[in-house]
């Protein structure tokens, strides 16, 4: 209980009252119910499915509700190679998500174009949408993506606005 109170930003008073800041408790609620928009474009999507599966079990973090409607989600996991042609679709879906919204760039292609140094592939999705966390790997292991999710949660706990401040990079063997 004590530990839970700390993460919620609560103070336990003698009379069984909790006091906190509104932003803190909203942030606590938000970070434990990040509903992902699975932007599964290519092979990283397979690892993203494993991330939702029983072994890594993302429901421990409250993110098991993968929404296929952008209007019901607040975390976009961009999992795969984004081509110039696809970039407009990704941006449109991002625009349709309600604020506040966070973005994880999953894998090498999404973060930097990866091995596709080519005319057709966008060399990193941060060229057209703000990214909060970059997850390394080709594809990243599901546990590494889980770490990426935890970094987003930490960002919300710190009260940072989405797509601002410093970028967070999750290395391959975190």
């Amino acid at each position: 209980m004590e530990e839970g109170c700390v993460t919620m930003g609560l103070d336990v008073s003698k009379d069984s009252f909790f006091t906190t800041k509104l932003d803190d408790i909203i942030g606590w609620a938000r970070k434990n119910s990040l509903w992902p928009m699975p932007m599964g474009i290519s092979c990283c999507a397979i690892e993203m499915m494993a991330f939702a599966g029983p072994r890594t079990d993302v429901s421990r973090f409250g993110s098991e509700a993968f929404r296929f409607s952008p209007r019901q989600s607040d975390l976009m996991i961009v999992a795969g190679t984004v081509t110039y042609k696809m970039s407009h679709v990704v941006r449109k879906i991002y625009d349709q998500m309600p604020d506040p919204k966070w973005v994880i760039a999953m894998g090498a292609c999404t973060s930097s174009g990866g091995m596709y140094r080519s005319y057709s592939v966008v060399q990193g999705i941060d060229l057209f949408i703000p990214v909060d966390v970059y997850v390394a790997g080709c594809p990243p292991r599901p546990d590494n993506l889980l770490r990426g999710l935890m970094e987003v949660q930490a960002k919300i706990t710190r009260g940072e606005k989405p797509g601002q401040k410093e970028k967070i990079y999750v290395p391959e063997h975190a």
Binding site: K85, R91, S120
Partner: protein, 160 residues
């Protein structure tokens, strides 16, 4: 099988055959461009040949003055279990070739791909549009003079 093909082609198209090459059991015939569709009809309809399957159409850019581009047709005869490769060559100044969609309808998307990547125009194709790149793209990416990383600004990104 090789002898039958060459014999049949020589009867009708002896002047249209530029060269015949066999390498590791793969037969390649380079034919003259104006006759490609007629040759394909013969190969498909002849009861002994029966090249009923067009496996792929692709292009090549040799980046030279004459006969810069090549279109390659990979045929397969399912009854005879035999593969055949046809090639036509063309210069940049005359970058047209007859479509083989009337022969094998599967050539539709493959010719569109070749058009998209090399700019080779297939006359008589029912829907000669780009297939991979955006409609308004102005270049042909698999040409040798196209830079690997593309031309900056030629593919628009969404506004950030």
């Amino acid at each position: 099988m090789k002898e039958i093909i060459l014999e049949k082609l020589n009867v009708q198209f002896s002047t249209a055959i530029e060269s015949v090459n066999e390498y590791r059991g793969e037969l390649t015939i380079i034919v003259k461009k104006p006759k490609i569709r007629d040759i394909c009809f013969l190969l498909r309809d002849d009861p002994q040949l029966q090249f009923d399957s067009l496996r792929d159409v692709c292009g090549a850019d040799y980046y030279r003055h004459d006969d810069r581009f090549e279109v390659i047709y990979n045929l397969y005869s399912i009854p005879n279990k035999f593969r055949l490769r046809l090639k036509v060559r063309m210069s940049e100044s005359d970058i047209h070739v007859d479509s083989v969609v009337p022969v094998w309808s599967t050539a539709d998307w493959e010719e569109r791909e070749t058009y998209d990547m090399f700019g080779i125009i297939f006359d008589g194709h029912p829907d000669m549009r780009r297939i991979y790149m955006p409609e308004e793209f102005e270049y042909y990416p698999l040409r040798k003079d196209f830079p690997l990383m593309g031309i900056p600004g030629s593919l628009p990104l969404p506004r950030k």
